[in-house]
Assembly symmetry: D2
Homo-oligomer: 262 residues x 4
Amino acid sequence: MNKWTPISIGHVTFQPGNFLLVAGPCSIEGHDQFLEVGGEVQKLGAQALRGGMFKLRTDPDSFQGLGREAFNIAKQVKEKTGMGFISEITDPRQVGDFYDVVDCYQVGSRNMHNYALLKELGKVDKPVLLKRGFSGLIKEWILAADYVRRGGNEQVILCERGIRTFETATRNTFDLNAIAYIKKHYDFPVIADPSHATGDSELVTPMALAAVVAGADGLLVEVHQKPENAFSDGHQALNFSQFATLTDKLKQLLPLVDKQLG
Amino acid sequence: MNKWTPISIGHVTFQPGNFLLVAGPCSIEGHDQFLEVGGEVQKLGAQALRGGMFKLRTDPDSFQGLGREAFNIAKQVKEKTGMGFISEITDPRQVGDFYDVVDCYQVGSRNMHNYALLKELGKVDKPVLLKRGFSGLIKEWILAADYVRRGGNEQVILCERGIRTFETATRNTFDLNAIAYIKKHYDFPVIADPSHATGDSELVTPMALAAVVAGADGLLVEVHQKPENAFSDGHQALNFSQFATLTDKLKQLLPLVDKQLG
Amino acid sequence: MNKWTPISIGHVTFQPGNFLLVAGPCSIEGHDQFLEVGGEVQKLGAQALRGGMFKLRTDPDSFQGLGREAFNIAKQVKEKTGMGFISEITDPRQVGDFYDVVDCYQVGSRNMHNYALLKELGKVDKPVLLKRGFSGLIKEWILAADYVRRGGNEQVILCERGIRTFETATRNTFDLNAIAYIKKHYDFPVIADPSHATGDSELVTPMALAAVVAGADGLLVEVHQKPENAFSDGHQALNFSQFATLTDKLKQLLPLVDKQLG
Amino acid sequence: MNKWTPISIGHVTFQPGNFLLVAGPCSIEGHDQFLEVGGEVQKLGAQALRGGMFKLRTDPDSFQGLGREAFNIAKQVKEKTGMGFISEITDPRQVGDFYDVVDCYQVGSRNMHNYALLKELGKVDKPVLLKRGFSGLIKEWILAADYVRRGGNEQVILCERGIRTFETATRNTFDLNAIAYIKKHYDFPVIADPSHATGDSELVTPMALAAVVAGADGLLVEVHQKPENAFSDGHQALNFSQFATLTDKLKQLLPLVDKQLG
């Protein structure tokens, strides 16, 4: 098992042997929506909450997130639940604004090579969840993490979320080899995002568990109260019942890989 | 869980809920070598034995297998161990010759599109293990299986062995999504080959177990008494001790996925 | 400019500085159809005729070619036009049967790794057009050519026909870099198939000419009298008027690359 | 031929039928170096000058460009040569600073999905050269261009520079199909960068010309007085003699595609 200096996300300490379960909707759509999801995933075992505020969408006509309106919602839900909050940042000019609300900055797949952003995040004292570029080589991903660490911020969590290949039956190809490879060769924590990696809620649970067995130190999972009505990516979000099934199986599985939740 | 008509490989019946463990060396290198591996993997739980006789090598200068000399070795080892035998066929003219020695024909990755071979195998009454082409779409793989079934042979086992992508840190990219996807959409048994999918014996065990959790109905694993001396692909073969570790963990894991060995 | 021993295809000698133009329908659909296409492409400058007899189709329900019925048609059209004939072989057992009718054996993309077939073609005294596997590395393609040459047959023509990538807007990604790379590093003639490489008749002409400038020594182009009615791949076949435009532009372009037709 | 509103880069007007030749070193290394290259490429027909100021390097230890020191150099060389200047921008906070020195902003391959940057460039009145992401689908590339145009800036030039595939013999796979496809379906000017697309100076000239025949409206070529001593990417830069050969052949070729330099 590889090693890393403990990382704090809100009240949670993430260190070797601990398993980090992050869940929440693709986007924050409103106060009640976010609070309901937050309360439910917390009850089922999630230790931190995810939710997009500024969505990075390929199509300029797609829903772009609530933007600054989401800041207050996120703060209120954090206060009510006591959970740490992770959200994606896409612009180096927003690092300061995000600082007041997030407990961990997420760098998305399309920004893995955004060195201006990575350098800025190297200067803060909060953790950075660095997703793999969908066409990033493992060695490029590690070098991207180095951009953050060079700035003085050692708290980098890697997140495998699927790569782009010739196969189109699933949204991406989930490269679990990459997780096992990194656990063998490097001292980074690595978590997995089965929601983007599969793009299909019915595949999320088996693939989430497969990632755990491959060596993942945590999961980042999209959960929504009504996936069919979600503003974005509803086809890959679990509903509460599906998330409960996932967490049940996860709890059975973790002892076999010598890890524990929280 | 998907369904399929029970498939016989030697004395073993492979049906939904059963887990098929196939192990053995990349190539049959000699009688004593093959018997030793066969006896050991059998003791540790393998139900069938693999071993290449005619090796399909990209480089014409590489070791091409013992060829017909391997037929007698395989027959003797089968008799002594009582295990079913699986070996790769690359030429439609050899279907008859193989019939006397194999209990299951293996079609390799580079022959997934070899329709002349697939049609010939559609006429026999022994099972066919059909590996995915390293660049085969899932739908092409299913169509290849249909070539066999059209001929009247319903006993097709699919085997995911990794696909070719831009990533070169591992030998292939193990597409476990494909296993979960096929289990959801089709009624074929699917097994996984973590040896080719990773190309690194240290990654074989975690990735083999990840494949099981993703839904694989079996494993095809390369095992050698001295991987460092193997005639081919030694870097990805498990030694006996590593295979024992794998089977130990596999036995712990199978109850969680409602399957049992044999 | 690289070098190779002159290759004979029917009455045509293909040697460095000569440009080889091969055209014809995807499939031989009947005597009159094939003769009409043959006469027309000959008039416009084609030196050899292509036409599928046994089609290698991914889907077992697709049109599989006229099979042996096409042998007589091909012989008659060869006799009437005097053109050399190239057709795809997919089964090592058919090498002898094909010998009477083809002037050049074509090995298709899905058979680049079919070593049983390649070895058999190494024994004949007619040229082999070896298409690149759609996921074949350049070095694997060269090794496949070596399988043929090891058998004693030096007459190998390579053919780039597009590779499989993440891009799906075009049928394949036409890897013209590969042509320039091979012309720099190896002594093989290389031709290009813009029909499969683009999958769109409107893109065939510019991409055919681009291949010539990249260094291609010839072209393999699909032409049909009524592409919209073709039994297979009609969307990528040129009609006679489009082929006339292509040959006009080709004749203007060849002097700039120091090559001449025929 | 597709259409677009004329685009001004310095004194040059780039409109349908004109061919845009941009050349220069990978990085600005110093005043004399940049002036010498600028003077030479101008003499040979280049209409605009490229040169990196802030280099986007995967490895944080690689040469990162002269940064702000390059601003003055670029201004001086522009004044002395009268050529337009194109340079890569990687950070939305630098749009204003660049405005004083560049005549066209270049968005590099790793920033095609950097929507914060694209939106900022949508507000300026200077053209944007938008390189294709090395794993960007054509449709994503067009949507990225739409991000710029939505902001009010219609002056977008697309640039194909090679995509990432399984083939590693060349640095990238030059997707010339994409150029022909865009010329058929969209009204954007498209230029080609054969330097990054091949990664080998010996392949640059044939592939540059192939791009022209495929439909490219211009070229972006790396040129250096001593490629073997270049601070970055010297293996793919042409020396002056090689660039002279390229421009000679280009001038012969352009009439065949109904275009003219300048």
